[in-house]
C-alpha cells in the first residue's frame, strides 16, 4: 500500500505538475492552500484530504442519469450517473472494456454511427436531452468537439485541416476571417510557432504529437463548448504526452474537457474529477458490462476513495 503511494507520487513529481492543484486558483476556497502544502509531502494521509471537495455549484454541462448503452442485445454500460462541470477536466478511468469510451461517445452522439447502438436513460446537455428526437447529431458535434485516440489528421494541408470544421459549419470561408480562425486555433493548441511557416504542407508530415495537437486545434476551431478526448495520448511518446497535458491545463479556462484515459497517473495529473469504471462479467452470457463504480474529485479518488474497488485499482492491485 505504502509502496504504491510512493510510486505514484514519484511520477507526479517527475512531470513537474501538481496533481492536486485542481481548482485553477480560486482564492475564496479555504481548502486551497492546505491542499497545496500537502501536495509536496511524500506521505499521503487519506484522512487528511477529507473536506478537500470541489465546489459543486459550478455550471453543470452534462447531467447523466441512469444511462445504459446497448450494442444490439449486449449491454455495454449499465446505469451510469454523473455530472460534468464547466471549465473542469473530468477523467474517465478504468480497465479496458469498462465502457468509458462508449460513454464518452454518447456525449457527442458518435455512437449514432454504430447502427446497433442504443441508449436508454437520460443524458442532458445544458438541460437538453441529447437523445431527444428533435436533436440533430450534427449540430451536437459542432458544439461538442472530439479528439481521438489515434491522431487522425486529414491527408490535406495543415491549414485545410484546421479550416475544415469552420467551413462545414459555415463559420467562415477562405480568406482573412478563416486565416484568423486557423491562427488562433493553432495558437491555442500551442502549435502555431512550429507550423506557421508551413501551413500549406500536408499534415501527415507532422510528428505524432504535432498531429495530435493539430487535431486539438482542429477541434477547437469550431469554437465548441466541450472537448471530448478519447485516450488522446495513448499513441504518443512521453514527451509529446507531457505537452498535451500542459495544453489541457491551458484549455480548461475556455472549454470543459472530458478525457478518457487508462493511464491513472495522467488522470491524477490533469483532471479535477475522476470517474472510475469497472467491468462486471455476466456469467450466463459471458459478456462484460461496464459499470460506474465511483465518481468524485480526483483528489479524493486517488487519496481516499469510498469504494474498495477504486482503491484496488488506483493502488495498482487490479487492472
Amino acid at each position: 500500500m505504502t509502496t504504491g503511494h510512493d510510486t505514484r507520487l514519484d511520477s507526479f513529481n517527475d512531470t513537474g505538475l501538481d496533481p492536486f492543484n485542481t481548482k485553477g486558483g480560486r482564492p475564496e476556497d479555504p481548502d486551497m492552500t492546505a491542499t497545496d502544502q500537502r501536495a509536496d509531502e511524500p506521505v499521503l494521509d487519506p484522512a487528511a484530504r477529507e473536506g478537500a471537495e470541489l465546489p459543486t455549484e459550478r455550471t453543470v454541462i452534462f447531467d447523466v442519469e441512469e444511462l445504459n448503452v446497448y450494442y444490439g442485445d449486449f449491454r455495454a454500460v449499465r446505469d451510469a450517473s454523473l455530472k460534468v462541470h464547466k471549465n473542469e477536466i473530468t477523467a474517465f478511468i478504468g480497465p479496458s472494456g469498462c465502457g468509458k469510451t462508449t460513454l464518452l461517445r454518447c456525449f457527442n452522439r458518435m455512437n449514432d454511427l454504430i447502427e446497433t447502438a442504443r441508449v436508454t436513460g437520460s443524458l442532458r446537455y445544458h438541460g437538453v436531452d441529447l437523445y431527444h428526437p428533435k436533436v440533430d447529431s450534427v449540430e451536437v458535434r459542432r458544439q461538442i468537439g472530439m479528439v481521438f485516440q489515434k491522431p487522425n489528421p486529414f491527408p490535406k494541408s495543415i491549414w485545410a485541416n484546421v479550416a475544415y470544421g469552420p467551413r462545414v459549419a459555415g463559420l467562415a470561408k477562405k480568406g482573412p476571417a478563416m486565416d484568423d480562425i486557423v491562427e488562433n486555433s493553432l495558437r491555442k493548441a500551442a502549435l502555431w510557432d512550429e507550423v506557421k511557416d508551413r501551413l500549406d504542407e500536408n499534415a501527415l508530415g507532422l510528428s505524432g504529437g504535432q498531429q495530435q495537437r493539430l487535431c486539438i486545434a482542429r477541434a477547437i476551431a469550431t469554437d465548441p463548448d466541450v472537448l471530448l478526448m478519447d485516450e488522446p495520448c495513448s499513441a504518443l511518446d512521453p514527451i509529446a504526452t507531457t505537452r498535451i497535458e500542459e495544453l489541457m491545463h491551458g484549455l480548461k479556462d475556455d472549454y470543459s474537457i472530458v478525457i478518457v484515459t487508462h493511464n491513472m497517473q495522467q488522470a491524477a495529473r490533469v483532471s479535477d474529477r475522476t470517474a472510475f469504471f469497472s467491468v462486471e462479467v455476466n456469467p450466463e452470457s459471458d459478456t462484460r458490462t461496464g459499470i460506474l463504480v465511483e465518481y468524485d474529485s480526483t483528489q479524493k479518488m486517488f487519496s481516499n476513495p469510498a469504494d474498495e474497488r477504486t482503491e484496488n485499482y488506483v493502488t495498482g492491485r487490479f487492472g
Binding site: V60, D129, K134, D136, V138, D254
Partner: protein, 312 residues
C-alpha cells in the same frame, strides 16, 4: 457559447438547420435510388425473359423442342438437346483446360512465388483476363484449330466445339486463378507455419494443409468458371463451327451451337430478328434457360465463397 454562463439551452439550439436536414434527406434518397437501379435492372431482366419466353412456351409445339434433328429456329425446329449437348461439351472442355492451369497458376502465385515474381506475373494474368472474347474467338478459329485441334484428331480448317471449348477455357483461366488465389490467401499463415514446423516440405504443406483448408474457395472458383463458360458467346459463335443452325451431334470434333451462340446467331446477319412465327420469342426462351442455369450456379458459388469468409 463559452462565455454564456447560463446553464439552460433550448432544444432548438441543437435541432440543426431544417434546410440542412432536408438537404441531407434528399441526398440520402438520391443515393438510395442509384443503389436501387440494380434491383430495377434485375427485375427488368427477369420480366423481359419471362414475358417473351412465356409466349414461346404457350404457343410452341413442344414436340419441336425435343428429339429433332437439330436447331433450326428459322424453320420452327427448336431442339433444345442440341444446344444443351453443345453447351456441355464446350464447358467440359473449357474446364479441362482452365481448372488445372488456373489452379496451378494460383498455387504457384500464392505458395511459391517470390514477391518480385508475383508482382511480375499477377498483372499479366490480369491482362489475360481483359482480353475481349472476340479476340479469343479469332484465336481459337485461326490458331488453335490448325495448330492444336488438328493434332488431337480434329480438323484444322474449320471451327469445332473442341476449338471453341479450348478458347473458352483460356478465357476462364484468370477467373479460376484469381478466385482460387483469394481462397488460398485466406488460409491463415499459422496453419502453414504449424505444418512447416512439423518438418513438412512446402509441397506437402500445400497439398495436405493449404488446399484442403481452401477447398470451398477452389470449388467456388470452378463453379463460377462453369457459369462463365456456359454464358460465353463470342468464342463459340466464331469458332464453334456452326452458323445459323446446328445439326445435333455428340462429337466435340463437330461444329454446333451452344445456348448463347444460338442466341447471337439468331440476332446477327439480318437487320431484324426474323423467321418463323416464334423465332424472336425462342431467343428469350433460350435466354431464360441460360439465365436460370447461370444464376443457380452463381448462387451456389456464392455460398462456397461465403463459407471461406466464415471459416477464417
Amino acid at each position: 457559447m463559452n462565455e454564456a454562463g447560463s446553464a439552460e439551452l433550448s432544444i432548438e439550439a441543437l435541432s440543426g438547420s431544417p434546410r440542412r436536414v432536408r438537404r441531407e434527406r434528399i441526398i440520402s434518397r438520391a443515393m438510395f435510388c442509384t443503389a436501387f437501379v440494380s434491383v430495377v435492372v434485375s427485375a427488368l431482366i427477369i420480366y423481359a425473359l419471362f414475358a417473351e419466353a412465356w409466349i414461346f412456351m404457350r404457343d410452341v409445339d413442344w414436340s419441336a423442342t425435343w428429339g429433332q434433328i437439330g436447331w433450326f429456329p428459322r424453320r420452327g425446329i427448336y431442339d433444345m438437346p442440341t444446344l444443351l449437348v453443345a453447351s456441355l461439351w464446350t464447358t467440359a472442355i473449357a474446364m479441362v483446360v482452365a481448372a488445372p492451369l488456373g489452379m496451378g497458376a494460383a498455387i504457384y502465385l500464392s505458395e511459391y512465388a517470390r514477391p518480385s515474381h508475383r508482382a511480375f506475373f499477377k498483372p499479366i494474368l490480369e491482362i489475360l483476363a481483359g482480353i475481349p472474347s472476340v479476340v479469343l474467338g479469332f484465336f481459337a478459329l485461326l490458331w488453335l484449330a490448325p495448330n492444336v485441334v488438328a493434332h488431337i484428331g480434329g480438323e484444322g480448317g474449320r471451327g469445332s466445339m473442341l476449338a471453341a471449348g479450348i478458347g473458352v477455357g483460356i478465357l476462364t483461366i484468370p477467373l479460376v486463378a484469381s478466385i482460387s488465389e483469394d481462397a488460398m490467401a485466406a488460409v491463415p499463415k499459422s496453419l502453414r507455419e504449424a505444418s512447416a514446423g512439423l518438418g513438412a516440405r512446402r509441397a506437402v504443406t500445400t497439398l495436405r494443409v493449404v488446399l484442403p483448408a481452401a477447398v470451398s474457395g477452389l470449388v467456388a472458383s470452378l463453379i463460377v468458371a462453369v457459369s462463365r463458360a456456359l454464358g460465353e458467346t463470342m468464342v463459340v459463335f466464331m469458332a464453334g463451327g456452326a452458323a445459323d443452325a446446328a445439326i445435333k451431334t455428340y462429337s466435340p470434333y463437330d461444329g454446333s451451337l451452344t445456348m448463347p451462340a444460338a442466341m447471337a446467331s439468331l440476332a446477327s446477319g439480318t437487320d431484324q430478328v426474323v423467321g418463323e412465327g416464334l423465332t424472336f420469342q425462342s431467343l428469350f426462351f433460350v435466354g431464360l434457360v441460360l439465365f436460370m442455369l447461370t444464376l443457380g450456379l452463381n448462387l451456389i458459388g456464392d455460398r462456397f465463397v461465403a463459407r471461406v469468409r466464415e471459416q477464417y
